[in-house]
């Protein structure tokens, strides 16, 4: 009975070592495994979802790579892609914030999160994927706004919301406005919850600070990638503050599973299948819409039903079908 549900590098177990390519270490090369020093060609990396084929180490991925991977290359429709970072505090530390943003944008990404509508193995959903390469995946106003819009599109399209996080926390250069994005993400998740739609989380390395202390820890089901650091305060801060000596695996996904904070540690190569499977399980069977609305009215009587009534004509209700079959008579009969 295995305690950890980790699927590690089955390729290697099956003797596919040949697939792993030469094992020369090439320093500074982002295709060299920092764990076992194997080196891979770019096409090998992409084919293996940026997982080391030898030791299972999970390399960082950009948000675009995430969306390409989950959609199986079938494309995705971006949400809030026009949003860009502002500089509300005219913030300067060792470098002006605007310059940091320009430098990050120059590398091709538009922000530390990309949200998109897409299908994972044929199941429609909205995905908000973070990108550690963009200013440490920090959550500023654009991250909060894109996340909120992602949730709103999920409600409008009546599909689950999935998020993959990789973030050092709040974006300090936007000051307290960055902090407020935590609350904004909570508001968005409450709208999703009121619509009865699932929120599935994937915690990638690292998920820390304000991201972990807001939407990332509120998944209905929460997966983590192997070896991902998951923490509110990082190990270094804790050691400096409390002078505690922490174990080597402190805050890592496998240990967070032991402490009850993660439902499963899932190999990245299994993510599309696992997420599609979860969505399949959670999908409500189709129901008669009027009956469903009557049931909703009877249950809550207030804002939720009113919002539903407005939104009704445009929705497919795939996920909002009630498992109830109560009649309209319930409204007056109670």
């Amino acid at each position: 009975m295995s305690r950890h549900q980790i699927s590690v590098s089955i390729d290697r177990l099956r003797g596919k070592r040949a697939d792993a390519g030469p094992t020369r270490r090439m320093p500074g090369d982002d295709r060299s495994c920092p764990k076992c020093e194997s080196h891979f060609r770019a096409d090998e990396m992409e084919r293996n979802c940026y997982v080391c084929a030898v030791c299972g180490y999970h390399f960082p991925m950009t948000a675009r790579q995430r969306l390409d991977h989950l959609s199986g290359g079938a494309g995705w429709e971006e949400i809030g892609g026009e949003l860009r970072a502002a500089d509300p505090l005219r913030f300067i530390d060792l470098q002006p914030y605007t310059e940091r943003v320009q430098a990050a944008e120059a590398k091709g990404a538009t922000e530390a999160i990309i949200a998109a509508s897409l299908e994972i193995e044929g199941r429609p959903c909205v995905v908000a994927a973070m990108d550690f390469a963009f200013l440490g995946g920090s959550m500023g106003s654009v991250v909060g706004e894109r996340f909120a819009r992602a949730a709103e599109v999920a409600v409008a399209q009546n599909v689950p919301l999935i998020s993959i996080t990789s973030s050092g926390g709040a974006r300090m250069q936007e000051g307290v406005l960055a902090l407020m994005q935590m609350a904004k993400s909570i508001v968005a998740l409450d709208e999703l919850a009121q619509a009865g739609l699932p929120f599935l989380m994937v915690l990638a390395h690292p998920t820390t600070g304000g991201v972990w202390a807001s939407f990332a820890s509120l998944g209905d089901v929460t997966y983590a990638e192997p070896g991902a650091l998951i923490a509110f305060s990082g190990p270094r801060v804790i050691e400096q503050t409390t002078r505690e000596k922490l174990p080597a695996d402190f805050g890592l996904a496998e240990r967070q599973y032991d402490h009850g904070h993660v439902d499963a540690v899932v190999d990245r190569r299994d993510l599309p299948r696992r997420l599609a499977h979860l969505m399949m399980i959670l999908e409500q069977p189709p129901r008669d819409e009027a009956q469903s609305l009557a049931s909703q009215l009877a249950q809550n009587g207030t804002e939720r039903a009113a919002r539903m009534a407005q939104a009704l004509p445009s929705l497919t209700r795939r996920f909002r079908g009630q498992s109830e079959s109560s009649s309209a008579g319930e409204v007056s009969g109670s």
Binding site: D258, H259, G260, H261, D263, H277, P285, E324, E330, G333
Partner: protein
């Protein structure tokens, strides 16, 4: 398949088959001890055995988001006849290693809190809940106490009572003490033919009431905790048949019987308006008991 139901009295051949048992069980104490042995049979199906057969598409959740994950409780969501269904069950181990890992099916507060996490999800996503009860009791450990074993059981009952979705509790093995009832406050409470439901294990009662750990058989005869009696007392709404000889003789057949009962019952419950269903759930537990007036 068919089951005996209470109080509507529906059911088919099984009602006839166990009718004699229901009428006469109280006097045959040997039968009671036999049932207790069957309820604890080491090859008896456990929640994961039923889940594998009822819901091949199943996703287990782990952890209470506060202190840990309790392997004595399994919880998750699966695809059941074309719709989502949530299950929380007490899981014993089959071999020595697994038994220790599962803590002999004795849950800690972390386990009940994992269950409550799933209940909250059921409420929000409108997913019916089935609980599978099989425990000698909640774990009597120092850390379990300090993490609030009593409060976890009480809150689990309260959350089940308040759930807005249909709920079915099935005693599949031994249901002992508050550790069992924590998962038992459902719209329908049903027992497998050889399951038991009791305020305490016979061994526990023996040590306390007879001051002699060896009087478990006497205690069992006094408690009479078998399904037929619980059905008569109104504790169980139905008795689900097991394969001849007991559920351990065929996990497949045991699962088929349970499947038939669950499918029909969940649909029945879904047809009841939520407000009525919750009122009936309240009334069901409000009226249980036996007292006289001076």
């Amino acid at each position: 398949m068919s089951v005996s139901t209470h109080p509507s009295g529906r059911g088919g051949r099984f009602v006839r088959r166990i009718a004699g048992k229901i009428a006469g069980a109280e006097v045959v104490s040997g039968d009671i001890w036999d049932a207790i042995q069957l309820a604890r049979h080491q090859d008896r199906p456990y929640p994961l055995d039923y889940i594998a057969r009822l819901m091949p598409d199943f996703e287990e959740i782990h952890g209470d988001r506060a202190a840990g994950d309790d392997p004595a409780i399994v919880a998750g969501i699966g695809r059941y006849h074309g719709a989502p269904l949530a299950i929380i069950g007490q899981q014993k181990g089959r071999d020595a290693q697994d038994r220790a890992y599962r803590n002999f099916g004795m849950p800690s507060p972390e386990g009940y809190r994992k269950g409550m996490r799933l209940m909250e999800l059921c409420d929000r996503l409108q997913i019916p809940l089935v609980t599978l009860i099989d425990t000698p009791g909640a774990f009597p450990g120092a850390q379990a106490e300090e993490h609030g074993q009593g409060g976890a059981i009480a809150r689990s009952m309260m959350m089940m009572l308040r759930l807005s979705v249909p709920t079915v509790a099935v005693v599949i093995g031994e249901g002992s003490s508050g550790g069992a009832l924590a998962l038992g406050v459902a719209d329908r409470v049903v027992m497998l033919e050889n399951a038991t439901y009791s305020v305490i294990s016979p061994e526990g009662a023996s040590a306390i009431l007879w001051r002699d750990a060896a009087k478990a058989k006497l205690a069992a005869a006094a408690f009479k905790p078998i399904a037929a009696n619980c059905y008569r007392w109104g504790i169980a709404d139905a008795v689900v048949p097991e394969p001849e000889g007991g559920a351990h003789t065929s996990h497949d057949e045991a699962a088929r019987f349970l499947d038939g009962y669950l499918l029909r019952t969940i649909r029945e419950l879904q047809a009841i308006p939520r407000v009525d269903r919750n009122r009936q759930r309240h009334e069901r537990f409000r009226r249980l008991g036996a007292q006289r007036e001076a």
